[in-house]
Subunit: 154 residues, 2 copies
């Protein structure tokens, strides 16, 4: 794994592609039984007859998986010092069992922290894409988020 | 359990209080190992020496738990037909092991669906509160979200 990225590396307009995870039916159901037990997320038979035409992942599950891909693929070690929140989470397309998930991130803004000289605040757009077995790739979820990022030699 | 609420029940300004869940250290760590494996969420010893002064739940874990409390306490059965997303998720206060979590919801807007006569769109503010052992209650996370809600007799 390469050196952790630092605040100085996140130039406005820079884009990152990372992440590769194939989501299973079991994963979708296990998450939803715990956190979002609606028929479309936990019951393949009921979901088949529903408007979505089959089991789909909880939107919150996709947010959680995006976080994991970001942690593994972008924020190695202690690059990220946390975030005060996220904005405009859009669940654009359903994600189904065996879809392949990949991520893209773009730096929208970068500024120094007013109170802490060891860090800056970088606002990202994060996009999670799904690819189905036929290879069609679609935006599944998108959101923006400010993240506190450690500066180099801080 | 009472009759499921329908679109007509969600009058602008109406407030709901529901949910009661005590979060354990194991739950915090189990979620974070899967989805947000940062030291402050998975390592009680490292977290103790960190800026937060102890283990805290992942913000995405809190969103997922809020969803579960909403499903159990507000959207019984098939009241909710899904949501296109959420706005302005703010992680305001850390949640720690053994905190008691409760929810409040307020109806911000309610309008008919233009395309589907069987439903309306209700925009909620959802607030998740934490209470510690001393009984102090604080807003932990807050967000707004439009939700598609079934109409009565639709």
């Amino acid at each position: 794994m390469s050196e952790p990225l630092r605040f100085e590396d996140f130039i406005v307009g820079r884009k990152f592609s990372f992440g590769d995870h194939v989501i299973s039916e079991k994963e979708i159901i296990d998450f939803a039984k715990e956190y979002d037990p609606q028929p479309m997320h936990i019951d393949p038979v009921a979901a088949k007859n529903d408007i979505m035409g089959g089991l789909i992942a909880s939107g919150w599950h996709l947010c959680a998986l995006a976080m994991r891909l970001i942690k593994d693929g972008l924020f190695h070690d202690t690059t990220s010092l946390g975030s005060p929140g996220v904005d405009e989470v859009q669940w654009r397309r359903p994600v189904r069992p065996n879809d392949r998930l990949t991520m893209e991130a773009e730096v929208l803004e970068a500024r120094d922290s007013k109170s802490r000289p060891d860090r800056g605040i970088v606002r990202f757009r994060f996009d999670l894409f799904r690819s189905d077995a036929a290879g069609k790739r679609q935006l599944a979820i998108t959101y923006t988020s400010p993240v506190m990022i450690r500066k180099r030699d801080a």
